[in-house]
Symmetry: C2
């Protein structure tokens, strides 16, 4: 990871436009979990890779992630990210859009350097799925007609597509056998979905529906996340009128978030959301279990448990 961080610092530089490293450093130095590059490194090593290109791919994946965060903050009009003011707030939307574009281009240069057309194909497809998922979220939000199928497409785009590509390219660069590449991809996909479902559940305070300073954002943004979808599916006429008012019309009043949580608990929507996350974590573990046993494989299996431990 030290080599990945050094490469990120080097490649985010721009001789002519100092705004670029300023904005990027703000986000990159805020830390974040660096989960995606770690997945690429782990997958490559698990498959016995001894070259240096996995570092480039890990940096590629982190650049794509950072670029999407910059654009997301503009789209969501966010003011906080990783506990710090967002770049669009500190500089402006323009800088966030353009620096995001720059990082995406830099990620593209890095992956070309690996010389693997298959890696390029995987990351190009992931990029398209990510952007499509974001647009889909934009149009699917605020509509009670949004169901679980759309939700799954949105979170694949938001999160799982890059997780899956991150692990898959690790296997590819190591020239792993096809069944292992497939297993790594499935692991990343399941881990990413579990990760996002957990996030969406915690936004309503988890199964205990505990309110806190990190809850309620999705409600205020009127997102059709899984807890809402499951509660809407069971709603009677009166409850449906409530969801129409707060989600579709955006007319939200004091106590509405608490009422939403109560409805979710009444219909077991929070429990069912948790069960969905656990099922994905189990799918991730099963995928890794199909790989030859190794310490890194055990660590990835533990990571799947860790991701859902926040709602366990």
């Amino acid at each position: 990871m030290a080599a990945v961080n050094a490469l990120i610092a080097k490649r985010m530089a721009s001789e002519h436009a100092p705004r670029i490293p300023e904005v990027t450093a703000h986000l990159v130095e805020a830390g974040g979990k660096r989960l995606r590059p770690l997945l690429t490194l782990a997958a490559a090593r698990m498959c016995g890779y001894e070259g240096a290109d996995h570092v480039k791919l890990a940096a590629t994946v982190e650049f794509i992630h950072t670029a999407t965060l910059l654009h997301d903050d503009v789209v969501d009009e966010s003011t906080q990210r990783r506990g710090r003011p967002t770049a669009n707030l500190l500089w402006d939307n323009q800088s966030s859009v353009l620096v995001g574009d720059y990082l995406f281009a830099r990620s593209f240069q890095l992956m070309v350097e690996t010389g693997s057309l298959r890696v390029l194909d995987i990351l190009a497809n992931a990029s398209a799925v990510i952007a499509e998922g974001e647009v889909l979220q934009l149009t699917a939000a605020r509509s009670l007609a949004t169901g679980q199928d759309i939700y799954m497409k949105v979170i694949r785009g938001k999160t799982a597509a890059l997780f899956a590509a991150a692990t898959e390219v690790g296997g590819i660069i190591a020239a792993a056998p096809e069944d292992q590449v497939t297993a790594l991809r499935e692991y990343g996909d399941a881990l990413g979905i579990a990760f996002q479902i957990v996030d969406d559940l915690l936004d309503y305070g988890g199964v205990s529906a505990t309110l806190g300073k990190n809850t309620g954002d999705d409600f205020r943004e009127r997102k059709m996340s899984l807890p809402v979808i499951l509660a809407v599916a069971q709603a009677d006429a009166e409850e449906r009128a409530f969801w129409t008012r707060v989600i579709e019309k955006g007319d939200q009043r004091d106590g509405d978030l608490e009422h939403a949580q109560a409805l979710m608990q009444r219909h077991g929507a929070l429990e069912a959301t948790r069960a969905a996350a656990l099922a994905e974590a189990a799918r991730a573990r099963d995928a890794i279990a199909a790989m030859p046993a190794s310490d890194l494989g055990d660590a990835l299996s533990d990571l799947a448990d860790f991701v859902v431990s926040r709602v366990a």
Copy 2:
């Protein structure tokens, strides 16, 4: 070009997010000159290419261009593009940012399909130069310290990098000899620079400084384009105070645009800008003259003259 248009229509589709083709069609169907894909097709044919991948590359180049237009309109807060309301106005900034990202990802998929790592390398580099130029423009605008060196970097990013890549990849895909690939790249670079300088000159009404409905945008946006840079370089103390007020402070009043034009004419800044455009057009013609003679070569040479004919 019919094949390129068909491919663009096919690849801009998205099964799940109908907002994507809506936004893209709005821009693509508005027409525009389709100059960049034409350059790719012409370059490939000039070099005797008989395959079909040049169509993919032409569509790639147009997708990259369309993506940058969508993001530019958000950055510039524009309301009109190609004589129609912009996408950010018709839909929202979010859609423009995300659909731009989607088109960029689709362009990336298309170029991967050609299987040429060299093509990928060229277009990855062009993408980075484009984004860097846009960020540079953001920070260089509104500062009288911006000189010709920065201006050239900005317009290479804004325009010439994609023109140069468009012609270069045409040569690459045709497996043309290195000296021809170099000549094609130089042609695109010079044509792009000429094109942008002409645009910047016309924004001040050309050498005759004629006011019209298409003049004054750069002045209002306080851009450091070549006519301003050349006039500022010759400014006395009083004139410098004027430029500081209108460009750096943004305090613009009735009659300021006319005064700016008068200063440009007094110092020959409009004439010098025109001369710079003509010199670039000549460089473009010279580059093509180094290629084996052909009808397409003659057409590209004429195109260089045509681009500057608006200020001739």
